[in-house]
């Protein structure tokens, strides 16, 4: 009886473990970085072909010393709300350890607080980037790899300055042709077998006729 209670208790504990996650909340971050990206609003880019240039720097209107904990800047490609709709695998969550808005890393660079010049990077859009609407966001990380600041190319509502990327289809003419050939072969084989069966059946009944007569 006691062991049954232990099992039940550990069950419950396991169920609750998930809620005890650590993780920085996005709402606690300050927007401290100015980020610009080369795509204009509404521009359509092609994966594998086009490039995106991103530039980022600390916002110089902010009080100094705010970037004292910044050690790394990671720039990421993020899904706009229209591409997140009805797609739970891209869902936005306030807890950044569970947030799935920004799944593609563009670049990661170390941050030097003494050097206030803006940094930039040119990125060729990878062939595995899916078709969607995007914006660019940069996160600042401290030495424990926890987010301490951010910046993005769009506004807080994520409605301005969005651009689209068309992913590769992955289709090939050779695949198309092979599909057709194999399918045709499949159907034709069926009819060949049908014909053979009918002939066997006729032969059997004709032998019967011979035997009876």
């Amino acid at each position: 009886m006691a062991s049954y209670k232990v099992v039940a208790a550990s069950f419950l504990l396991c169920c609750l473990v998930q809620t005890c996650y650590g993780g920085v909340l996005f709402s606690s971050l300050e927007r401290t970085i100015d980020v610009t990206a080369s795509p204009k609003e509404g521009q359509v880019l092609s994966a594998g072909v086009d490039k995106i240039s991103v530039t980022w720097a600390l916002n110089n209107t902010l009080p100094s010393g705010i970037d004292s904990t910044y050690k790394t800047i990671k720039v990421k490609l993020c899904y706009a709300p229209v591409s997140q709709r009805d797609r739970p695998w891209r869902k936005m969550e306030n807890n950044l350890s569970r947030d799935k808005t920004c799944q593609q890393k563009i670049v990661s660079k170390p941050y030097d607080a003494s050097n206030k010049t803006s940094q930039s990077f040119e990125w060729i859009i990878g062939r595995d980037i899916p078709t969607a609407t995007y914006f660019v966001r940069a996160y600042a990380y401290d030495q424990n790899d926890m987010e301490v600041g951010y910046g993005q190319t769009t506004n807080d509502k994520k409605s301005t300055n969005l651009f689209e990327i068309n992913g590769v289809t992955g289709k090939h003419t050779s695949l198309d042709i092979s599909s057709v050939c194999f399918s045709a072969f499949s159907v034709v084989s069926l009819f060949v077998f049908f014909y053979i069966e009918k002939r066997k059946g006729k032969a059997a009944s004709s032998v019967e006729q011979k035997v009876i007569t």
């Binding site: 998930q18 695998w89 194999f182 066997k200 032998v207 019967e208």
Partner: protein, 531 residues
């Protein structure tokens, strides 16, 4: 029930009775139509095997078994080849959760009618031709999966590929034609279970094939397309094997048996009528919807569930999802064997009770699965759940062969089709779009399992009883039940002989306790002595 392997020869144009056991030689009727039937396994009066030897490929019984489970396995692999690759496909095709849900529904809805049609086709042209035709005709849908480029085309290929799941019916029909009542549960369980294995194996195979192709150098969005040629080709291969190596019945193939008159031609409308008018077929269709239908639903959603909820890699999610379907290796056959074992002691009533208990417990486990939040507990619960839900499937098909003899195909088709209806309904209610989270949907599905298993209490066989009532006091026999499907004109023509043989072979369903007391004296010999 075991008879010696008997040498049997064909006499003339009618279904004839076998000679007494140990009978001697006869005369040859012409080399193509005479049957010197020697079987390497013991058989009953219908030449159905009374022993199930898993690792033999003897012709025709065990060979039919291996052909049918492998072809069914390949159809399962094809039908569920997309779900483990969905994290890639959904990005390539820009799918929404609604698109994915709709396609999941489509993948199992095609087979609803295909299964019923398949049942009738088996009754009319035989399982060999029926299943091979379906496999050849659905292979193109799998090939064309590699050229799709939109949510609509994704839905269409999954819809047409799903038709191939109707081979389940031909598998069960074939097993019921080749194996005798005491072992039919086991045969159906192994064939169905090892076929259903495909739903689990595909969750392992497809991510593996995909990563292999991608590592060779193909882009991600091309690699998954190439990967689909593997299940398509395998499926085609199995169809060839069935036609070349298979045989419909122990005595030969339908076409030849029909033309030479050994298998009397039956009327489609009568076969259909006797199938759909048997209420037990409908109840089993509903309950099968909540063991097999649930299995299909889980095959569709489980990989994505683990990938998204626990943040696993595609590969890992695939392995975990696979373990659900892989349990079929032993759990569904185990269900069949348990059903046979219970029937030896308690007869058909035992089979009904076993099914109800097993499936209800599966429902409870499903409720728990949706509630647990830790990965390891989730996996453990899922595996236990899979064992029980699949055993319930096996037990269902320990009962199906006895519902009707004349319309075995239609009943098998209805039950099989009902399985798919369950999958369709469940996915529509709980797993379409973003209304319920997946874990909530799983819990609610568990509740529905429990509710929809209750109708088993209503199944009643007058000659054997039901869950709560014993056999009818009017002393109805198996013959009365099965011959009730033929009217007097048909009986005059002698069309009912096969049903009679089956009725005699099925007295084992009375169970041991009642066997010695109520069994009339003249039925104590295994083979019928009357015409």
């Amino acid at each position: 029930m075991k008879t010696e392997a008997i040498v049997r020869e064909k006499a003339s144009m009618e279904v004839e009775q076998p000679p007494a056991a140990g009978g001697g030689g006869g005369f040859n009727n012409g080399n193509q139509s005479s049957e010197e039937q020697k079987f390497s396994v013991p058989v009953d009066s219908e030449n159905k095997a009374t022993e199930f030897r898993l690792f033999s490929i003897s012709k025709p019984h065990m060979r039919a078994f291996h052909l049918s489970w492998i072809s069914f396995f390949s159809c399962f692999v094809s039908s569920f080849a997309a779900p483990p690759l969905l994290p890639i496909i959904r990005d390539n095709l820009n799918l929404t959760a609604t698109d994915i849900g709709n396609a999941g529904v489509a993948s199992v809805s095609g087979a609803v009618f295909a299964r019923v049609a398949m049942g009738t086709a088996c009754d009319l042209v035989g399982p060999r031709l029926a299943s091979a035709s379906l496999i050849f005709l659905t292979a193109p849908a799998v090939y064309f999966t590699s050229v799709i480029n939109s949510a609509t085309s994704y839905l269409l290929v999954r819809f047409f590929t799903g038709f191939s799941l109707a081979t389940f019916v031909s598998t069960q029909f074939w097993m019921s034609s080749m194996f005798s009542p005491p072992v039919v549960g086991r045969a159906n369980g192994f064939a169905g279970g090892w076929g259903n294995l495909g739903g689990g194996a595909t969750q392992l195979i497809m991510p593996l094939v995909f990563s292999l192709i991608r590592d060779i150098g193909a882009a991600q969005f091309t690699a998954w397309r190439i990967a689909f040629f593997v299940p398509a080709f395998f499926q085609m291969l199995t169809a060839f094997s069935i036609l070349i190596f298979g045989q419909d019945m122990p005595d030969g193939n339908f076409q030849r048996l029909k033309k030479s008159g050994e298998k009397p031609k039956d009327e489609f409308s009568k076969v259909l009528f006797h199938g759909v008018s048997n209420y037990r077929g409908w109840i089993l269709a509903l309950t099968y919807g909540y063991c097999f239908g649930v299995e299909l639903t889980i095959d569709n959603i489980i990989a994505e569930y683990f990938y998204d909820r626990f943040n696993l890699k595609l590969h890992t999610a695939g392995i975990i999802a696979a373990s659900f379907g892989l349990a079929n290796l032993f759990s569904r056959p185990g269900g069949g064997m348990l059903s046979d074992a219970v029937s030896r002691r308690f007869g058909m009533r035992g089979r009904l009770w076993a099914l109800w208990l097993c499936q209800t417990f599966a429902g409870v486990l499903c409720i728990i699965l949706g509630l647990v939040g830790s990965l390891s507990v989730s996996v453990v619960v899922m595996i236990i759940f899979s064992v029980f839900v699949q055993a319930a499937c096996g037990m269902t098909f320990g009962i199906v062969p006895f519902v009707s003899r004349r319309s075995l195909g239609v009943i098998s088709g209805m039950t099989g089709g009902g399985g798919n209806v369950g999958a369709v309904v469940t996915q529509l209610i709980f797993f379409k779009g973003s209304r319920f989270s997946k874990e909530r949907g799983i819990t609610l599905m568990g509740v529905m399992i429990i509710i929809c298993t209750l109708p088993i209490c209503l199944i009643y066989f007058p000659q054997w009883g039901g869950m709560f009532f014993g056999p009818s006091s009017k002393k109805v026999t198996e013959e009365d039940y099965y011959l009730g499907e033929w009217n007097s004109k048909e009986q005059e023509k002698g069309s009912h002989h096969a049903s009679m043989k089956f009725a005699d072979n099925s007295v084992s369903e009375r169970g041991r306790r009642l066997n010695t007391s109520t069994r009339p004296a003249d039925e104590s010999t295994p083979s019928p002595t009357h015409v």
